[in-house]
Amino acid sequence: MSASAEASTELLCIRHLTLRYGFGPTAVTAANDVSLSVKAGRITALVGESGSGKSAIALAAMGLLGSSGHVEQGEIRLNGIELQSLPPHKRKAFRGRDIAMVFQDPANALNPVLPIGRQLIETIRRHRPVGRTEARRIAVAQLKRAGLPNAESLLSKHAFQLSGGMCQRIMIALALVSGAKLLIADEPTTALDVSVQSQILRELRRVSREEDVGILLITHDLGVVAELAEDMYVMQAGRIVEYGDVYSVFDHPRHAYTRELLNSRL
Amino acid sequence: MNGLIMPKNVPAYLGGFIVLGVLSVGLLAPLIAPSNPLDVHMTHRLAGPSMDYPLGTDHLGRCVLSRLIYGTRQSLFCALAVLVTVLAISVPVGVLSGYVGGTIDRFVMRIVDILLAFPSLILALAIAAMLGPGQAHLLLAFASVWWAGYARLIRGMVLQLKANDYVLAARASGSSHLRIAFDHVLRGAARPILVLASMEVGTIMLALAGLSFLGLGSQPPAPEWGVMLSDSRPYIQTVPNLMIFPGLAIALCVLGFNLLAEGLREQRRVAK
């Protein structure tokens, strides 16, 4: 145990992952020999322009690539367990319980016709053997931890009655309510007004510190990276071109593409 | 997009093939029908298929095949006549309402609302009943009811097209309203209207034959599919063929138009 102390804090470990969409001559390579890792309680950013393959990696880690996307080679380890070799139903069991995800468009990631509470409770009961009342209590507690006002009355609200920022905070609570310690946040602030972006970033930082959640932050926004992340990977056209801790990469970008990204921002 | 129909669009080809087939059968009826559809042969009543009567004869000894072939004219051409009348009313009304907007639009749409409050088949039936039996009355009854839904659809399309940048650009460059309505709006709406029309022919055929089946449209002894079906009812046990063939003819014809419509729609979807 002590020998692998370093490895045990590694929640997600991706090795030499190659992803393709489609088959035959029209296939597109979304990720090419990508390796990265996310550690408990740390925020790791995966940066790149849209279309560079960031989201495909996130979906592959979730096992949600869809029908045309597939892993060509490489391995994805979650808490040390290799996921690719697992049968689908076993693999599914990790979703929500060990690995969770929030998406770009919070207002549409909540079901528009179902109240918030119903979506929380059904998620809790999927992963824990609790009754409706107990699940409701857990839901309220989670919303309160997330600092959401009037947690009780939120349960009966619908997504369209809430602001985008509120929806995203609820999405984070919803993602973590079953106790997942790894959160993939795919462009969590992109669809939101600048004024509410910082709320979300603060909440992500809080869950990382207080709830010891490891976050894989996928973004094209270097400002968000600078504010939030500790480690970062830079991705271009399906490949990781640079990685390191945020300070050293920002101060001494080694790859031309990273410099370009940094310059375009300044 | 060059050709009207791209390769591999199976529904469009199949539908087009059926529609062309039915059209040519209708046009060439006198050439291909083995006998006169109205000739009564009381000695050959309810006969089975033979060399003279490939599909047998009906209760008056008339050739079923010939009646089916001539029936194509009745069913298809009546449906097309209704469709043309409906388009002649609904396209100008819809374009006017959508393009001009304002009071005219509100007035027209209110009338459409009122007409659509009636079940269209029932209103058409009632109007046809009041006017008295006959093909012309039936066509009039249908057209006066059926245009409403169409006008609303076309108005919707026009409103969408009107908001397009190229229409605004044409306005800004000083084109006249009439020009824009024709050049941009109507042309943009032409294809969706074609798809709708193709689908609607089938619906109209079904409804027309249905009213004839009830005895309100074409009158005996006219060779019409709905009338033939209605005539076959007493012989459903003894000579089921009489009931099978006219129904097959209607179903095939309507299927052709529906397939064509589906193919055209698919085409538009892919083109987009």
Partner: protein
């Protein structure tokens, strides 16, 4: 509300005008229906009772006044009040329509959902075929075929009437099959669209069971357009019932109306048209309300 009143007023105006579409004197035509030239006195008496001698606008106001008191006039053939005749036959038509809708739902829900979940599979092809058949096969023909095979050949169902509980089966199949096709298609498209939505992916990402994702998150949203269509199809259902009821001798308002048409009983036709339009307007209102219950965004 104002809109509703305008529509109802327009409906009444059109219904009233129907009587005056008849070529010639409606009273004389009605009385001549059985082929005998009516006497002058009889025609005059009927004109009197229908109020046909007054100027049109006064006729309309008087007619509307009677209609508002639920007086639709007397049937020429039965001599009884038209309103009473129609209302006594309405339950039969309503029962037939309800059974048809249930059958259409039973057919279209599994087919539409399966076609969307297993795109380009045999399910998809079968559902496409059935939906094409549904919109292409005439109800009166399907009815005749069902009569021939179900009632005459197999003797499983009664040929006509509504004497036994299973009498409704064949007419309901005939009426329901005709509307099922549109729903198969609508449910398929709705499901395909909803399955692509972010909230379905998010539900999967939370580890919900596939069954819960489809039934709880996708289906409800995918069915919303079908609810709207059902409201709009009440008219088609009533129209279809005219033919199906005539074919199966089902004692509803549709068959009654067709008999009135044969007998040139214009008063009954008028009442029937007004009643069906009212049903359409009112059910559409009800469906709108129901829709708001299902989709809280619409409130």
């Amino acid at each position: 509300m104002v809109n509703l009143l305008v529509v109802l007023l327009g409906v009444s105006l059109i219904t009233f005008s129907l009587m005056h579409l008849a070529p010639g004197d409606p009273a004389e035509i009605m009385l001549r229906a059985d082929g005998v030239q009516p006497t002058r006195e009889a025609v005059e008496a009927l004109r009197q009772s229908l109020g046909l001698d007054a100027p049109l606008h006064i006729q309309y106001v008087e007619w509307l006044g009677r209609v508002l008191r639920l007086d639709l006039g007397l049937s020429l053939t039965t001599g009884k009040p038209v309103a009473q005749e129609l209302l006594s036959r309405l339950p039969a038509t309503a029962w037939l329509a309800l059974c048809a809708v249930v059958f259409a739902a039973l057919l279209s829900l599994p087919l539409g959902i399966a076609a969307a979940l297993f795109q380009a599979s045999w399910w998809d092809r079968i559902s496409k075929l059935i939906s094409l058949a549904s919109v292409s096969v005439p109800a009166y023909w399907l009815g005749l075929l069902l009569l021939f095979y179900g009632a005459v050949r197999l003797k499983m169902f009664p040929v006509a009437g509504m004497d036994s509980p299973v009498s409704v089966v064949l007419p309901a199949l005939t009426l329901g099959f005709g509307i099922a096709g549109v729903y198969i298609r609508l449910i398929r498209t709705g499901m395909l669209e909803v399955l692509e939505r972010p909230y379905v992916r998010a539900a999967r990402a939370r580890g919900l069971r596939e069954g819960a994702v489809i039934a709880g998150h996708a289906l409800r949203n995918a069915l919303l357009p079908s609810i709207t269509l059902l409201g709009m199809q009440i008219g088609a259902l009533l129209g279809g019932a005219v033919i199906v009821e005539t074919l199966f001798a089902w004692p509803g308002i549709g068959k009654f109306a067709v008999e009135a048409i044969y007998a040139k009983d214009y008063v009954v036709i008028q009442g029937y048209v007004l009643l069906t339009a009212l049903i359409v307007v009112l059910t559409n209102r009800a469906v709108d309300g129901f829709y708001k219950l299902l989709d809280p965004r619409m409130k």
